[in-house]
Symmetry: C2
Subunit: 212 residues, 2 copies
């Protein structure tokens, strides 16, 4: 039971010892973003089950990201602050994703981003140190780690290209198609900043699309 953290502030999350790591676990291997039980107990047992209540933070600015989280249930959002202090949503996460801040986690530097649960979340987390040990000893798992990095990289590139070549309306429509679930869990202003526009503009775009 232990390991449970109660807290009035929103900076902590509950960490539950992995009681049944070896049965019900997550397998990303070559499964391309689809969740299923781990097939490798030696890997699985290094992960801890964690739950994150809605609105609480997996990572806050200034901390060093030390959760490499395989998300099983729930939705999260990452956001940073621009020079004027405004929140900018940098990413959304849904089940089947690896959730962590790449730069902070691997460089062991203070994060400029926050990662917050939009809904109650569940997943399997591993620390930097343990993850590195696995990478060191298991070449197949190393492949997995690299694949996750490369995948994130490619997605970010695609999004960048969309920012350059597509209108806000097109970007909105694509997000609506590719990630409809998040619209149920997040206010439009977060989606707007993710798309690179204001909530006012997004509202107008939605009105225009509704008339069509």
């Amino acid at each position: 039971m232990a390991g449970l953290v109660a807290c009035g502030r929103t900076y902590l999350y509950i960490r539950i010892p992995a009681a049944m790591s070896k049965e019900k676990l997550i397998d990303f291997f070559r499964n391309d973003n689809h969740i299923s039980p781990f097939t490798r107990p030696d890997i699985a047992e290094q992960f801890k089950k964690i739950t994150i209540p809605k609105n609480q933070f997996l990572l806050t600015e200034g901390k060093i990201s030390d959760d490499y989280l395989l998300l099983e249930k729930g939705y999260l959002r990452a956001f940073a602050h621009d020079t004027d202090g405004n929140e900018v949503t940098t990413n959304f996460y849904h089940p089947g994703r690896v959730v962590f801040e790449v730069s902070s986690f691997f460089n062991r530097t203070r994060s400029k981003e926050n990662i917050q649960a939009l809904t109650d979340c569940e997943g399997w987390s591993i620390t930097y140190e343990k993850l590195n040990n696995l990478f060191h000893t298991l070449p197949e798992f190393r492949e997995f780690g690299r694949a996750m990095l490369v995948k994130g990289f490619a997605e970010l590139k695609t999004r960048m290209l969309a920012m350059i070549t597509e209108t806000a309306e097109e970007r909105y429509e694509h997000l609506l198609k590719s990630n409809p679930e998040i619209f149920q869990h997040v206010p439009l202003k977060h989606i707007a900043s993710y798309l690179g526009i204001t909530d006012t503009s997004l509202s107008r775009i939605r009105k225009d699309l509704a008339r069509k």
Copy 2:
């Protein structure tokens, strides 16, 4: 001498056998983007010296990226095509950089991007297979590989945030500060598409800034 490729088209580049790989080579280790001779002959000898004449391509659309290039001299640009067929510049490379297309190289998939030399270039290249062998056998070198990935990731994220939070004028000024050399080697239209604006807008921005 051999290995030289002459070609009227712009799709090939010259590949010169690494005659002096062990003396004058490149060391990125923990050197954070600063070039100096390789200190590890076992690594160095896996790389081949290549030169790329101006305007020729290191990578073309549809091919699988198989050069992981440590750039020693010269400048390159990566570009893709949007749905209307227009060129969009996705990246610029300067000496001290690793030049390759992450997704195509690591996933062994056809590249959607081209990488073209803006000036005569020189550097040290390694194939996917050899690079993987090094990663497999040399943990320190693995660290280097990951660091390059993470670095590229972080840069792309920063650029993304700039696209969302900064005006085109601010993005232009930052590029001018951080990467002034490329302005000597590339027409403004390429810089414009990299910044996410048209060449017309960039021209106006430059006029405004000149008056200040």
